[in-house]
Amino acid sequence: MKKLLIYLKEYRKESILAPLFKMLEASFELLVPLVMAAIMDQGIANQDMPYIWKMAMLLLLLAVVGLASSLTAQYFAAKAAVGFSTKVKHVLFRHIQTLSFSDLDHVGTPALINHMTSDMNQVQNGVNMVLRLFLRSPFIVFGAMIMAFTIDWKNALVFVVVIPLLTVVVVGIMLLTIPKYRTVQEALDRVLGITRENLTGVRVIRAFHQEEQEQMHFYEQNDELTRLQLFVGRISAFMNPLTFILVNAGVIALLWSGAVQVNIGNLTQGEVVALVNYMNQILVELVKLANLVITITKAVACGNRIQTILEIPAAQTFSDIPVAEQPAADIAVEFQNVSFTYHGGGDKALCHLNLKVKRGETIGIIGGTGSGKSTMIHLIPRFYDATEGKVLVDGVDVMKYPKEQLRSKIGIVMQKAVLFQGSIRENIAWGNESAGEDEIIHALELAQGMEFVNQKEGGLDAHVTQSGKNLSGGQRQRLTVARALVRKPEILILDDSTSALDYATDAKLRQAIQTLSYDPTVFIVSQRTVSIRHADRIVVLDDGEIAGIGTHEELLNSCDVYREIYESQYHKEVQGA
């Protein structure tokens, strides 16, 4: 959290002035009982009307000045807090964008989104509250005590006893209940879990007629939750009565010792009233202070989470010097003894991989889940860096390329078809910002997407909602293919990206890619043999190792793993043949 606070620097003036003005307000508030005491002792006792009016005007003045300084403080606090969180969000968002794929895997998308949204709100709220209250509340509590001392030190000793006792009660009860509230939350999560489970599994539960068992299970957890809630409730029910007793015990003590002091002439009647008023003031502020502590704890926890994200170092460095284009390098992509291990993921995902891919060649990659297919092709645009060995593009180690130069050579269509809010045209133009209308249309035609785009209202300008939720899976996949094609990449990678297309469309798309005029090097990753059987060469991966390379026919004869996959999909055909 500490490191985040440097972003408050821009608002240094506001962050200092806000608490100061709050203190100013508090000191005016602390003067009120004294003025009232003066009214009683001087004005009423001496029957001095002009004095009373003067003092009443003073009270009004205090109120107005108090209001003015408080408003100033609120404004500065809000400005500093909002400005601070805006700045941190700005920095955080840019930092998240530089995270490597392994960092993204490690931290997880939901966590990142959470940090950017709810954690940031908590921090903003925390900063705001601290600026507003952190000085005010202690100032009033201790200020009241100091004012009591200025009136009469013997009576002020009552404050010295009551304030620590109150603190112990308020803080003690909070310390006792906070961890208990966590157990309550856990119990509530369990009740929620059962409810959710009963909804997601409703078919199975009814098929096995488990309704009654589930109901009993729910009752148990529900009762447990109630029991815990009552238990915590019983503890926190002590808060109000105990503080009430303490403060009023203080008042009683003040009245008695005050009476003694007045009797010997050390104190006036008005001053006793002032002391009682101070005693009543501290309770409210102490409770506020306790709540502030909770807000701060939460905000600091959130702030720390944000800081850990900001502290993730840039795992990958890219060169700044462009690589001179080597015309007509014969080998487009080469894997030299490449191994890869995922962050914290024990076994090697790829193991000593060697492969040379000629320019213009189409490579099919097949294998079961977890065999390393996606990993392999993700090494080409440096989404991940090989743990061992080298990946070369156009004969040059990918590590030597500047980020933009390397990635602009590659058009990749990922497994998950991701689109963004905007028009269809804008989404496709991500691939190539300078693409003209006809280029976009051409790319869409190749991707077999023109037909459905034409049916949309607005055609190319039809709106795509957030994450493309208003399109079907197949439509999204075709648009992502078009997005990759529109940049006319030297290397085209299709990572299991046609799974939602029916067989016929899938086949047409593959044919279209074969006819591309600029003859890219193509990688097609798939689980289905039909998708890759016409590739120039097929790479069969099994547990991160190459189990075979060759054409469909060659592999059927030579590669067991390939045959196994093929037969599980074309069982009878083969038997019949």
Binding site: L59, G66, E197, N240, N248, Q269, M414, Y503
Partner: protein, 585 residues
């Protein structure tokens, strides 16, 4: 005119909700009485304390003019009042807790019970998140808002009237000052709330926009990086961020005026009481002690007003939540079992579908006049592109939904005249979206047959090719599986689901083949397990594998929710229809 009717309707709705809530309150009526009584005591005594303080002050006039006997008497009285008040407060807190949490428990219980009786038609039409938030969040909100709000409303109300009465007994004129100025704070806070409402809406709108953008861009970050669009994306983000900054500042600042403003009004009341009280005191119509009591009241008098205005919105919100929960509980449960429903026994596996028509939405035709006779032991493959409604058939066979027209029979018995449990017992179902409950592997396998012996369970696991991997789990059959744990792969989960059915040995099967995301080896195991399972049983299979399809006795080809072709592999190929194109692509 129509608005009036609407308002009336709404009002009667609120009353209905309220009356229904009262029914839940009834068992705790004695606690409510106790709570009301103790809150009366505590509020009354709390208000009496400033008067006692004032009297004590009046006994402290000046040097050698202190009436110690009287002070002692008053202080003892004060101490007693404080003790009783504290006790009353505690009892009140405990009562309110007991009442709130018990009612929450009862409502949740009933809601969950109702959930079990709802037809799938309702459950499919609502997301699980929606229903969960009914049973969890809404119930919490309404409990907090309604009961806490109710008690707060009540105590605030007594405080206001109590204070008024106490003040009037001391001095009517000064009371008038308090009564006239205090409502200003209400107006001020209401005014600010009204003014800031718009700003808050703008803020949350922009915040929503930002959250949406963050969600979209972080989820799609890999694509952003692949296409090197970081800069453009970040610029757009900053744009939204700046907009949010402006709007947040406005909303936060203007709403934070409320507290200083009400404090200001409070100071006005204080000053007003001070001056009028002092004047009254000079003329001997009031003592200094009474002025002290007044100042005590003046300090607190705005509080209950502000609380009430806060409570009213909370109450409205709570009633809205309650209304949603009750609406959920009023959803029509599934058709009750027929009175003469028979228990299916000795099922061999003969299923008849007789001229069945069905649709989820009345005017959207789906299945039309489907007829099919399935003999015991036959295999029926259902094929078609994704989203063609293959699950519809499963829904009807299992009677998750009832047919609109025609009938489905098992062993000649209309399934609507059969108890649901015995019908569902006759089927074993393995769905593609594997569902396992939180619990041990053992509990999951024995779900349909809890009385199974250890040997029977292991036998079933072995037949399903699940035993070997279960053995390797950290605690074997006692390993706990949770919904989102990675202990098991997708394929292993499916094997467990198969074992679950294998143990029950039902005469008929409904199987849903997985499309992808299972590695080849497990896939082969699953197919073997399916084969083992299908031996001699009538099976309905949602099929993706060509091999499964070819071996089926009857293939149902579905498209857009309807069965368009029906026959075996050779017949369908000869037809050169949709199946032919599917097969040859």
């Amino acid at each position: 005119m129509s608005r009036n009717v609407n308002d009336e309707k709404q009002n009667s709705g609120i009353w209905k909700t309220f009356r229904r809530l009262m029914r839940y309150l009834r068992p705790y009526g004695h606690i409510l009485c106790f709570s009301v009584m103790t809150s009366l005591i505590s509020v009354g005594l709390t208000l009496y304390l400033p008067i006692l303080t004032g009297r004590a002050v009046d006994a402290i006039i000046g040097p050698d003019a202190v009436d110690f006997d009287r002070i002692l008497e008053i202080l003892i009285f004060m101490a007693a009042s404080v003790a009783i008040t504290a006790l009353a407060q505690w009892v009140m807190n405990v009562c309110n807790n007991k009442m709130t949490y018990s009612i929450v428990r009862d409502v949740r219980r009933d809601a969950f019970e109702h959930l079990q009786s709802l037809p799938l038609k309702y459950l499919d039409a609502h997301t699980s998140g929606e229903i969960v938030s009914r049973i969890i969040a809404d119930v919490d909100q309404f409990a907090d808002g309604l009961l806490m709000g109710f008690t707060q409303f009540f105590t605030s109300l007594i405080t206001i009237f109590g204070t008024l009465i106490f003040m009037l007994t001391i001095h009517p004129m000064v009371t008038l000052v308090v009564v006239c100025i205090t409502p200003v704070s209400l107006f001020v806070s209401a005014y600010i709330a009204k003014k800031t409402y718009h700003m808050f809406r703008m803020q949350s709108e922009t915040r929503g926009e930002q959250t949406g953008y963050i969600d979209e861009m972080i989820s799609g970050l890999r694509v952003v990086q692949a296409y090197h669009r970081e800069e453009a994306v970040a610029e757009r983000f900053d744009e939204i961020n700046r907009k949010l900054q402006k709007r947040s500042l406005k909303a936060i600042f203007f709403s934070s005026i409320t507290n200083p403003a009400t404090r200001f009004v409070n100071s006005l009341v204080y000053a007003g009481v001070g001056i009028t009280g002092a004047i009254a005191a000079i003329h001997g119509r009031m003592t200094v002690g009474q002025l002290t009591s007044f100042l005590g009241y003046a300090n607190q008098y705005t509080k209950p007003f502000n609380e009430i205005s806060g409570v009213v919105t909370e109450l409205q919100n709570a009633l809205a939540c309650a209304a949603r929960i009750f609406a959920f509980m009023d959803e029509e449960p599934q058709t009750p079992e027929a009175e003469d429903a028979v228990v299916l026994t000795d099922v061999k596996g003969n299923v008849g579908i007789h001229d069945v028509s069905f649709s989820y939405v009345p005017d959207q035709k789906l299945l039309e006049h489907v007829t099919l006779a399935v003999r015991a032991g036959q295999r029926i493959a259902i094929v078609g592109p994704t989203g063609c409604g293959k699950t519809t058939l499963i829904n009807l066979l299992m009677r998750f939904y009832d047919v609109n027209r025609g009938s489905i029979t098992v062993e000649g018995e209309d399934i609507r005249h059969v108890t649901r449990n015995s019908l569902r017992d006759a089927y074993g179902m393995v769905l593609q979206e594997t569902w396992l409950k939180t619990g041990t592997v053992r509990e999951n396998i024995c779900m349909g047959y809890p009385e199974a012996t250890e040997e029977e369970m292991i036998e079933a696991a072995k037949l399903s090719h699940a035993h070997s991997f279960i053995k390797r789990l950290p605690q074997g059959y006692d390993t706990v599986i949770t919904e989102d744990s990675d202990t098991l792969s997708q394929g292993q989960k499916q094997l467990l689901c198969i074992a679950r059915v294998m143990l029950c040995r039902p005469p008929m099967l409904i199987l849903d083949e997985a499309t992808s995301s299972i590695d080849t080896r497990t896939e082969i195991r699953i197919q073997k397990a399916f084969h083992q399972l299908m031996q001699g049983r009538t099976s309905f299979i949602v099929a993706h594998r060509l091999s499964t399809i070819q071996e089926a006795d009857v293939i149902l080809v579905m498209k857009d929710g309807n069965i368009i072709e029906q026959g075996n592999h050779e017949e369908l190929l000869a037809k050169r229809g949709f199946y032919y194109t599917l097969y040859n692509s």
